[in-house]
Amino acid sequence: MRLFSSSLAALLIAGSGSAALGQTTAQRGPVPISGNVPALCTSGTNSSGSGNFDLGVLTNTGTGLLRNDLVAPPKILTGAFCSARSNITVSATPLLSVNNTASPGNGFSRTVNFTATATGWTTTAATFTTGAASNPAATQLRPTPFLGDITVSINGFSTGGGNGLRLVADPAYLGSVTVTLAVAS
C-alpha cells in the first residue's frame, strides 16, 4: 500500500513538469508502422462427397476387356485461394490391382491408365496422364492471387500395355490423384 502511494505521487510530479514544457513544442515521430502478409495457399474443401473416384466394375465381363464407358463424377474443391501468384500441379498414379500383384500372364494387364484434369484455376487446365512419358501440362501458373473453385476430373481410361489386353481379376484396383497449390517464386 505504501508502494502504491509512492507511484501515484511520482506521476503527479511528472504531470506538472510536462505542462511547464508545453510552451516549447516537442515532437516525436513519425513512428513507422509495418507488417507483412505471408503468401498463403489453401486448397479448399471437397464439396463432392467422398474423396474417392469410384469407377466400379472396370471390365466388360463378356470380353474381359476394359469398359469404354467408364465415368466418375468430378470432385469440386470449394473456396481454394492463394494470396500471391501460384502454380497448380496435378499428379496421379494409375489404377493397379491391389491383391493380385503377380506379373500378369501373356495377354493380361493389371494396370489402368487415365488422365487427371484440374480446371477453374488457370486458363489452361493442368493435366496429368499416368503412363505417359512426360506430362508438360501438369503444372500451370496463375500470375495473380485468386479465390475460387477447382474442378478435378478423370477420364481417358486405357489398359496399361494396350487396350487389347485383359485385366486380371481383383476385388480392388487403386490409384490416386493429387492436386497441389503452391506459391510461385
Binding site: P38, A39, L40, C41, T42, S43, G44, N46, G51, N52, F53, D54, L55, G56, V57, L58, T59, T61, G62, T63, G64, L70, A72, K75, L77, A80, A92, L95, S97, P104, G105, N106, G107, F108, V112, F114, V152, I154, R166, L167, V168, A169, D170, P171, A172, Y173, L174, G175, S176, V177, T178, V179, T180, L181, A182, V183
Partner: protein, 195 residues
Amino acid sequence: MRARLLLILAGLALPAAAYGQSNSAVSNFGVTGNVPGSCAVGAPQLAAGRQNNFLGLNGTTLQIDQLVNPATLSTNAASVEVRFEAVCTFPHRLKVETQNNGLWSTSERTGPAPEGFGNAIPYRADVTWDDTNLRLNADAGVRRIANNSVLVDGAGLGDLLLRLEIDAGATNERANAPLLAGTYGDTLRITLEPQ
C-alpha cells in the same frame, strides 16, 4: 561459443518451418475400381484341315456326314476339331459334360436294342486350353450325364480347342455291330467357371 552457435541455428529453422506450412496446399483423391472374376467363350469355329466325315458346323451343331458305313452297317470313323476364343481373368475350372454319354438314338423308341444291334456310339472329346488337356470318354455304356473337369490355376486367354473322335466300328454292343436305323445325337457342354 558452442551454445551461441546452437541458438543461431534454431533461429534460422523456425521461420523456415512456418513458411513451409503456409505456401502450398495439397488435396488427395483415391481412384478405385474392381475387376470381377469372369470367363467368356466365343462362338465355335471349325479348325481348318482337321475335319473327317463331318459336314461342318451349323450354328453350334456339328453334323456327321456318313454315320454308317454302308458295307458293314456299322459306324464310320469321323473326327472334327472346333475352336473357341476364350478368356478367364481368374483361376477357373474347365469342365466338359456330355448329356448322353455317347451318341444315342434320338427316336422315341425305348428299351434295349435287338440282339446283335447297337443303338449308341461311343466317342472321345479332347479339350486343350491354356496348356491344360482334358479328355472325356463318352463310352456309351449307360445313357446318362457324364463329365470330367480340371482346375486351371490362373488366368487364361486364347483358343480353346475341342477335338471329337469316333472310331470305325465303335458301338455300344460290340465292335462293328450293325447300328439300328435312326438319328443319333448328343449334347456336349464346355464350361469355364471362375473359382
